[in-house]
């Protein structure tokens, strides 16, 4: 049975976490969840970092669902034997208010109001830009996929990336040709961003050295706007974006 948007599932076998303390609040839309074998959602944790509060919502049970840690995991019935899904049994659902607040945090995290404004302006990287993943730039993943180190586009804000060294990214692919919002074209159509596969990686999972960077390594503001528009579809953020604009 497909997971439903807004439900919370236990994350199982999390190292150094007590059983049941971590959850996964499903955020990808229900068309995606009905068909796809990997699902997107926000991590639910008992505690968050101080600068994570504006992207998070405190739930009735005292835990926090945080849009700064939206991840993509294999659906429980679709994971290959060697890589079981950590998505466990249901822990209930977000209330409408909690879901709205989480979406609002996600919209802020993705800088959607700025990108959808009439004159978007990217903020410059803060501090030493060589030490953390930069918003709007592409990095190769450390782990090869189908024999190749794939490119990931950073969509999380620089202040967050700098402070935590973790970054939310979407994978890119040259395989998908569909010319639709969910797979926006970047680099003149040579590749597309897979918005529904947004996930969050730690510092060791992206190759930061200059010699490892892809060429071109940067997306334009127009491309970044198209990418967040795609995420708005796959993660159902259109209503939240409208709320942010009013």
């Amino acid at each position: 049975m497909p997971l439903l948007r807004g439900t919370i599932h236990e994350l199982t076998d999390v190292p150094d976490a007590s059983p049941g303390s971590r959850g996964f609040a499903v955020l990808t839309n229900d068309r995606w969840n009905a068909v796809m074998t990997a699902i997107g959602g926000a991590v639910v944790r008992p505690e968050i970092l101080p600068f994570e509060t504006s992207y998070s919502v405190r739930l009735r049970d005292g835990r926090f669902a945080t849009a700064a840690r939206v991840i993509s995991l294999r659906a429980p019935d679709a994971a290959p034997p060697g890589d079981p899904s950590p998505i466990g049994p249901s822990q209930g659902s977000l209330t409408d208010e909690e879901l709205d607040a989480l979406e609002d945090g996600f919209v802020r995290f993705l800088q959607i109001p700025m990108l959808l404004s009439t004159s978007p302006t990217a903020r410059r990287p803060v501090g030493d830009a060589a030490t953390y993943p930069i918003w709007g730039e592409l990095y190769r993943g450390r782990e090869p996929i189908a024999g190749e180190r794939k490119r990931f586009l950073v969509v999380s804000p620089n202040e967050w990336n700098q402070a935590t060294k973790i970054a939310s990214v979407v994978r890119t692919t040259a395989q998908t040709k569909a010319d639709v919002a969910q797979f926006p074209s970047i680099h003149g159509g040579r590749t597309r961003a897979c918005c529904g596969d947004l996930s969050t990686f730690g510092p060791s999972e992206l190759l930061m050295a200059r010699r490892d960077r892809p060429d071109p390594a940067t997306c334009t503001l127009k491309e970044m706007t198209a990418v967040v528009r795609g995420i708005m579809v796959t993660h159902d953020l259109a209503d939240a974006a409208r709320r942010a604009a009013t």
Partner: protein
């Protein structure tokens, strides 16, 4: 002239039997009791057409995702993304 200055086109049409009860229940459409039959039917047309468009868009979206799921790289990519995510300690 409709709401917001939109010009409404007037046509004569047969109302299916099932729909003939609709004007007695304007509240089902969020309209106040006493709303005219023509206003109820006008709203019904609008809702029906929007539903058709939404269902069509959703069917296209499902087909798009189904095609993406068949991408030969897809399984390897999503499994790898899960591994990278879990190793990262973001959970």
């Amino acid at each position: 002239m409709g709401k917001g200055g939109v010009v409404l086109k007037r046509v004569s049409l047969s109302i299916p039997e099932d729909v003939q009860e609709a004007p007695r229940h304007p509240d089902y459409l969020g309209l106040p009791q006493g709303t005219s039959q023509s206003k109820v039917l006008e709203n019904l047309l609008l809702i029906g057409w929007r539903t058709v468009k939404r269902q069509r868009a959703e069917a296209q979206e499902l087909a798009l995702y189904a095609a993406y799921e068949k991408d030969p790289e897809r399984v390897a990519a999503s499994t790898s993304i899960q591994r990278m995510t879990l190793r990262s300690g973001v959970v």
